[in-house]
């Protein structure tokens, strides 16, 4: 399943870039994240609780960052097992482009799901994945918004 989109973030590319590699920012941004351990500079272990249609599951998985062009782009790939609910795996190409007043983040992801998640139909999964992605970037955007701006807004 292909997912793509873009998000304008109210911070310069370097700030966004740093946030993407920041364990605390990521843990706050990933919807349903119960734990996120940084294993190395580019590897994380995550436990994420998700509900997709009637299937509720706790996914345990690994996330790795590769193809790194600092400040510009990287590939996020991950694989998670949700036990009886099935599994999800995928990779996203993330590109940061400077834009007036901030950064344009573009993502292009290919996600595959298996087991119960798949048999419930791509229709549900597609909508849910889009919703989760939107939530992630909304959370990231919030985290990047400087507190004083938030107050004055």
């Amino acid at each position: 399943m292909k997912l793509d989109g873009e998000q304008f973030l109210n911070a310069d590319p370097q700030t966004v870039w740093t946030a993407l590699f920041d364990r605390d920012v990521l843990a706050g941004a990933i919807p349903g994240c119960e734990s996120l351990d940084q294993l190395s500079a580019t590897e994380f272990a995550a436990v994420v609780k998700l509900k997709i249609g009637p299937v509720s599951a706790r996914f345990k998985g690994d996330v790795e960052l590769s193809d790194i062009v600092p400040g510009q782009s990287c590939t996020l790939s991950g694989k998670g097992s949700g036990g009886i609910a099935g599994f999800a795996k995928g990779a996203a190409q993330v590109t940061l482009t400077p834009e007036a007043g901030g950064t344009r983040l573009c993502y292009d992801a290919d996600v595959a799901v298996g087991g119960k998640l798949a048999s419930l139909g791509n229709r549900l999964i597609g909508a849910t994945a889009q919703k989760l992605t939107d939530a992630f970037f909304a959370n990231l955007s919030d985290a990047l918004t400087p507190p004083e701006e938030a107050r004055s807004a």
Binding site: K60, G83, F87, A112, G114, G115, K116, A118, S119
Partner: protein, 787 residues
């Protein structure tokens, strides 16, 4: 005297079901019963590294969690091959995956808990470490040299292959005036029974007896399977199939889950219940069809069919189903091709391929819809090529009604069929000339209607040629015990089973007529290996033809016994007496003694009977079909549709069936069997498809995404009959359960293609979804504009 055979009696158990008094395994609860939930592979192909059950085992209510090491040891593996399919291979299968997972949904662990909910909660905590591997999903690619194996225990991905040919087939094509071709694809679909698969295995260690309450068509087959695979004496195994909420062939295969329930009960000494939920049904019930067929047909200049040649690729999953195999369908596809037609030459090639999906196997009308759709699509193209009307080309080629016995080019022997009479009757019912005129005028308003017809034969009343000769322990005979009670009421215990089609009702009708009583006085017991004699039960359209004949012969033996007794009591020659209206009557029709009085004397005052007279009012009789290997039936169907060429949506406006199932025991139930069959033929023609992605994931495993035909989408189905009884039996009945399914899709596809004819578009794949119809219209448009 009123004969009850031929009467439209209502299905006896319908009243009980309507009153909420059904007895389904899904509703049964036994003391100390455990509930089983299976942890399944989320991937189509992979290697198991670890199954961690520690967290799950600590969950509330969990009694035990099994993996393969413990559970499979209790059961000998099963192998889905048959001896008469030469060269066929299928690797052994056991309850839980050992090292390799072979399809999405393959069970890897079994959780047993006090409730289904607790078992499900625990199952979520079983952690699987499975390294996924590239699955084999495309059967054609699977058969190329060097393709990865779908099942590492197999030699290669070829499960079975066969060629059937006559000597002159190439010459027939070489000399043909017209050759028409078709490449067709038939999607996977599944049974979607109202009641899912359900089993409660109950092993009593104190007596060594295993009782399995099992929603199946074939209790005796499972008695044998459980006895052999679990090393139990057959006499200690009892299988009870009470009310069964639909089966359609799906509930006679051996499944991992049912075997798991038995194994777990044997180990734990407690009743173990497994009832599939709807998601599991989609992932583990057998699927049907999945064929890719190339066919061609040779004709002379006058439109006479000279020969056919077909290649069928059947894709069956990672193993062949047990004990009937997954090759039987393809075998029937290549043998049923062109069967209604007087065609002398033929070549059929069958390749059965393994792939990483759920097994496919026998489902209502095994092979028939494929053979029928390919044959009838070719006949339709032949009609176009020769300029003949669809009725005319069939009239020229269908076997003449006085040309029997007839042997088809594929080797099937037909005793007596009525194709030409059925065609003439269908013509009268459909009035094709009026339809054509109407369609022409509607086209001017942008409304596109079409009709299509399809002739068929159906295999019924199979003898041992089906499975027995191949070494399968599947009974070709059936048994009945008929007894008269002291009141003169009759009871019949019989081995054919009831899944809602009315088996018990027709058996009562048949027995009633032999004993001169009304069917209300005949009670019928089915579905319990402890209380009925052993037999093949209900599959392949044999319940009425073979079960009915068994009941008839048993009834006649009891009749003779009663008449002998009556002769002694009323001092008359038994040969001068007969049974009528609940009494023994003489040649003048005068009642001499009632059944009730005979019952009273035989039971309570046997001392008053003459010495040496046999007063046992119970007879047992077994019957195995003899004569022709199968009693074929035949018929023809017509379909009328309207296609919206903007949206691709199809309205099915009308369906016609003319059918010849021999002696009709109950016209109401026969017609309802035909209607149900038509709906199960139209379902996969338009709606039903198990969709897989390239990774072997089933992507529409719920009723939110898998479309079944609904009442509002189904047309009126008009039915007429020709009756050609078989001479193989006294009763003369043949099967009817699969006739509707056999040709409904073929007629519908011809109808859709007739509607699309003005656009030059043509459908060759089922289901004929709106998207595929629009694609066909687009393809035709491109061909027109860009030749």
């Amino acid at each position: 005297m009123t004969m009850h055979i031929g009467q439209a009696a209502r299905r006896e158990n319908a009243r009980r079901h309507l009153a909420g008094r059904g007895r389904f395994v899904s509703d049964l609860a036994l003391p100390r019963m455990l509930h089983a939930v299976f942890v399944r592979s989320p991937m189509a192909r992979g290697r198991i590294f670890e199954i961690d059950t520690s967290e799950a085992s600590a969950c509330p209510g969990v009694v035990r969690i099994f993996t393969a090491a413990e559970l499979n040891a209790r059961c000998t593996p099963w192998i889905g091959t048959l001896g008469h399919f030469a060269g066929m291979q299928s690797p052994p299968m056991n309850i839980l995956a050992e090292d390799e997972v072979l399809w999405t949904g393959h069970p890897v662990a079994m959780v047993l808990a006090r409730s289904r909910a607790e078992a499900e909660d625990a199952a979520e905590l079983v952690m699987l470490d499975i390294e996924d591997a590239e699955p084999v999903t495309d059967g054609a690619a699977a058969l190329r040299p060097g393709a990865p194996l779908a099942n590492p225990a197999a030699r290669d991905n070829l499960c079975y292959e066969a060629v059937l040919e006559t000597a002159d087939v190439d010459a027939a094509f070489a000399g043909a005036a017209h050759v028409v071709e078709a490449s067709m694809t038939f999607g996977r679909h599944t049974a979607v029974t109202l009641e899912p698969r359900a089993v409660i295995a109950d092993f009593d260690a104190s007596s060594g007896a295993l009782t399995v309450h099992h929603g199946t068509q074939t209790p005796y087959q499972f008695q044998d399977v459980y006895s052999r695979h679990f090393g139990l004496p057959e006499g200690k195994v009892r299988v009870i199939a009470p009310d069964v909420g639909g089966s359609f062939g799906m509930k006679l295969h051996v499944y991992n889950e049912e075997m798991g329930a038995v194994a777990a009960s044997l180990i734990l000494g407690r009743p173990v219940r497994y009832v599939a939920d709807r998601l599991e049904s989609f992932l583990s019930d057998i699927h049907a069809r999945d064929h890719i067929v190339q066919g061609r047909m040779a004709l002379d200049a006058e439109g006479t069919i000279l020969a056919m040649e077909v290649n069928d690729l059947t894709q069956v999953g990672a193993i062949s189903a047990y004990p009937r195999t997954s090759a039987a369908e393809g075998n029937q596809v290549i043998r049923l091709m062109g069967a209604p037609y007087r065609m002398s030459d033929y070549r059929g090639r069958l390749s059965v391929a393994f792939q990483n999906k759920v097994q496919t196997s026998q489902y209502r009308a095994v092979g028939h819809p494929i053979a029928c759709a390919v044959t009838e699509a070719l006949v339709e193209r032949a009609a176009e090529a020769t300029g003949l009307d669809p009725f005319e080309i069939r009239a020229r080629n269908l076997i003449a009604d006085d040309a029997y016995p007839h042997v088809s080019a594929t080797g099937y022997q037909f005793e007596k069929l009525s194709h030409q009479a059925c065609l003439a009757k269908l013509h009268e019912m459909m009035e094709p000339d009026a339809l054509r005129a109407e369609h022409a005028s509607l086209r001017k308003q942008g409304i596109y209607r079409g009709f299509g017809i399809a002739s068929f034969v159906e295999i019924t009343n199979p003898g041992a040629a089906f499975y027995g000769v191949g070494g399968a322990r599947i009974s070709a005979q059936d048994g009945a015990v008929v007894r008269m009670m002291p009141s003169g009421d009759i009871h019949c215990a019989i081995s054919v089973t009831e899944q809602g089609q009315g088996t018990e009702t027709i058996i009562a009708q048949v027995v009633a007529d032999q004993l001169g009583v009304t069917p209300e006085r005949v009670s019928v017991t089915t579905g319990d290996t402890a209380t009925t004699p052993s037999g093949g039960a209900t599959w392949a359209c044999r319940g009425a033809g073979i079960g009915g004949e068994t009941a008839l012969r048993a009834g006649r033996r009891l009749r003779d016994r009663i008449l002998t007794l009556a002769g002694a009591l009323v001092q008359a020659d038994p040969a001068s007496l007969r049974l009528e209206n609940g009494a023994v009557v003489d040649a003048t029709g005068a009642a001499r003694i009632t059944l009730e009085e005979i019952g009273r004397i035989a039971t309570y005052r046997p001392d008053t009977l003459p010495d040496g007279i046999d007063h046992s009012l119970t007879v047992a009789h077994h019957f195995a079909p003899t004569g022709y290997p199968f009693d074929f039936t035949n018929g023809i169907q017509g379909s009328l549709v309207e296609v919206d060429v903007e949206t691709g949506l199809v309205r099915i406006l009308k369906h016609w069936v003319v059918e010849d199932c021999g002696r009709i025991i109950n016209p109401l139930l026969v017609d309802e069997q035909i209607r149900g069959g038509v709906v199960q033929g139209l379902g996969p023609a338009f709606f039903e498809e198990c969709q897989y992605d390239a990774d072997g994931q089933l992507t529409n495993g719920s009723l939110a995404d898998y479309l079944v035909p609904m009442a509002c989408e189904m047309p009126d189905i008009e039915i007429a009959h020709i009756e050609t009884p078989t001479g193989d039996t006294i009763l003369g009945a043949k099967g009817v359960g699969e006739a509707g399914t056999a040709a409904a899709g073929a007629a519908a596809m011809n109808a859709v293609n007739d509607a699309l004819r003005p656009f030059g578009a043509r459908l060759t794949q089922t289901p004929m979804t709106p998207l595929r119809i629009l694609d066909a219209l687009d393809a035709a448009r491109e061909e027109r504009t860009d030749p």
